[in-house]
């Protein structure tokens, strides 16, 4: 056993070392700074005033809480909609038809597409003077760009949600396709022979089978969309602002004291994601147990 235990430890050490020193180390150092511990500028005391400032001070409270609301809305909506879009896409495409390969490729196309580019693409297509608005104007639906609905750089984060759906649907799609392919159609045919109609086959056969994969993929997507910077930075408005953007702007403030706030905010984001993911786990596990 000694040999085997040693082998396990030696094998796991390098990646764990990276995760611990760089990832958790970074979080820990950020946490220290968020408590106001900044030896470089002669601050050694430890307190939670940065947290208080970010969440409750007159200057930032409104930004923070509206930002949190936007964050929750954007992450939930984009995760859910991307999953639904991918599920229906995958179910439709998996049946053989002549352009299957091409469609399969197009549906996976956004997987390698960087978020930044997707965000730019969303601007090109959906902004008030974007491609769709121009089509609309061409067929006489709208006059000036202002008549086109505000889909990008809007208060409700619709542009951000669109970008995440665009991008993450491909991620869901690929995972779903591989699950569906490995399942084959036997279960469905069986269910059909037992008298299940289309809806029932979907609800009671396919959905439970793909659920575990859908759940874990959606955790990744949810957590990502909650903490990512690029897309809201390009597609967001200045108020309300998603929390990662707000945190980064704190950090970029030349006043070193504001860094504590930036760190505090990013730690708050991490804690919220953690709580939501644990809650989500608990919810899905409970559901799976019940089923």
């Amino acid at each position: 056993m000694g040999g085997e235990r040693l082998k396990i430890i030696l094998s796991l050490t390098p990646p764990l070392l990276i995760i611990f020193t760089l990832f958790f180390g970074g979080i820990f150092y950020g946490f220290l700074q968020s408590l106001g511990y900044q030896p470089a500028i002669g601050k050694y005391e430890i307190n939670f005033s940065a947290y208080y400032n970010v969440m409750f001070s007159e200057r930032y409270a409104k930004l923070f809480w509206t930002g949190l609301g936007l964050n929750l809305w954007v992450s939930f909506a984009s995760t859910f909609l991307a999953a639904v879009f991918a599920l229906f896409g995958a179910l439709a495409i998996r049946k053989t038809f002549f352009a299957k390969t091409i469609c399969n490729f197009i549906y996976s196309l956004n997987l390698p597409m960087p978020h930044l580019v997707v965000a730019v693409g969303i601007i090109f297509v959906f902004s008030q003077s974007g491609l769709l608005a121009r089509f609309a104007s061409q067929i006489g639906l709208i006059g000036s760009p202002g008549d086109f609905p505000v889909l990008v750089k809007d208060k409700y984060g619709l542009g951000i949600i669109l970008a995440y759906i665009w991008k993450e649907a491909a991620f869901f799609f690929i995972i779903l396709m591989s699950v569906l392919q490995s399942l084959g159609e036997n279960f469905e045919e069986l269910a059909q022979s037992l008298g299940a109609n289309r809806w029932q086959r979907f609800r009671y056969v396919i959905l439970p089978l793909v659920m575990p994969n859908l759940f874990s993929a959606s955790i990744i997507v949810f957590a990502f969309s909650f903490g990512a910077y690029e897309v809201p930075a390009l597609l967001g408005v200045i108020y309300p602002q998603m929390l990662p953007v707000m945190a980064f702007e704190f950090f970029l403030n030349p006043d070193l004291n504001a860094r504590s706030e930036g760190m505090a905010l990013s730690i708050i984001i991490a804690i919220i994601v953690m709580i939501l993911v644990v809650f989500y786990f608990w919810l899905t596990q409970a559901k799976i147990r019940k089923d």
Binding site: L22, P112, M113, P114, A119, S129, S266, A270
Partner: protein, 287 residues
């Protein structure tokens, strides 16, 4: 399924596909147009000015073979960024796979205490936002001298990549039979040859998927490169971001095309592994 339903289904798929590639179309039109403003659906002026600006195509009159060579040899920023992005991507992909391989094997094949906890720890960078660790890491990197150089950027890229590589490869090893290696050993293959001839080909399809994920995560990394690279390590995402906020859609589109083209190319060559039966993608079902 009756025929009408099938038709609707197929049309829905086509519609979805068109919506999905609409941004791509917009990129291409933008990149080759000049002053393409609302309400023009088709640009009035087609132009290569964005490409000239990026120094990828010489100015009119110099578009000879020598002109191209001379321009490209002058090391334009885009090419520099492209080479940086590619080389960082390949390097961290290879390094992450080498690091993750033994760990994934152990996690996939053996059962031991704390295994779930260890997997959870490995996966945590996909769950906790990068901004939470990179802001704190930044100061440390600066004092360690890792900031503003290639090495530091590669190192920090390993963090978001590691979970994907470990997970994907753990998935491969979960379906892997180590007796094949034993068989080769008893047939006279030494450890090295066993790895090269037996293990490697068996895990190769999954490794391609892991490599694809690793490369793409590195390829599209903005925040980490921006902070740790301190602007000195210029990669394509940084260029796209700054161009996107500089308000020239043609230029943004042209850089974006350069940015997405290699990624799509790589997907094209690896797609059969991604959606195939390798089970590598279903590794994500395991977290």
């Amino acid at each position: 399924m009756n025929n009408n339903l099938k038709k609707i289904n197929i049309y829905a798929i086509y519609l979805g596909a068109i919506i999905l590639i609409l941004p791509l179309i917009a990129f291409f039109i933008n990149a080759f147009s000049f002053r393409w403003f609302y309400p023009q659906v088709i640009p009035k002026e087609l132009s290569l000015q964005a490409w000239v600006r990026l120094k990828l195509i010489p100015k009119p009159g110099q578009r000879t073979f020598e002109g191209f060579i001379e321009l490209w040899a002058s090391n334009p920023a885009v090419i520099k960024a492209l080479l940086n992005s590619l080389s960082i991507g390949f390097l961290v992909t290879i390094v992450s796979i080498i690091i993750a391989l033994p760990a994934a094997r152990v996690l996939g094949l053996l059962n031991f205490r704390f295994k779930k906890l260890i997997i959870f720890i490995m996966v945590s960078p996909t769950i906790l936002p990068p901004i939470a660790f990179v802001l704190g890491l930044n100061i440390n990197f600066i004092s360690w001298g890792f900031s503003g150089n290639y090495f530091g950027v590669c190192l920090v890229h390993l963090v978001p990549i590691m979970p994907y590589v470990v997970l994907t490869m753990t998935g491969i090893f979960a379906n892997y039979n180590p007796d094949f290696e034993h068989q080769a050993r008893t047939l006279g293959a030494n450890k090295t040859r066993t790895f090269l001839l037996i293990t490697l080909p068996a895990i190769a399809p999954g490794m391609v998927v892991a490599a694809l994920f690793a490369f793409l995560v590195s390829w599209s990394q903005y925040l980490l490169t921006f902070l740790i690279g301190a602007g000195k390590v210029m990669t394509l995402p940084l260029l796209v971001f700054s161009t996107a906020s500089s308000g020239n859609p043609a230029l943004t589109a042209a850089i974006s095309i350069i940015f997405i083209f290699p990624a799509i190319l790589i997907l094209f060559f690896t797609s059969k592994f991604v959606s195939g039966e390798s089970g590598a993608t279903s590794g994500f079902g395991k977290i």
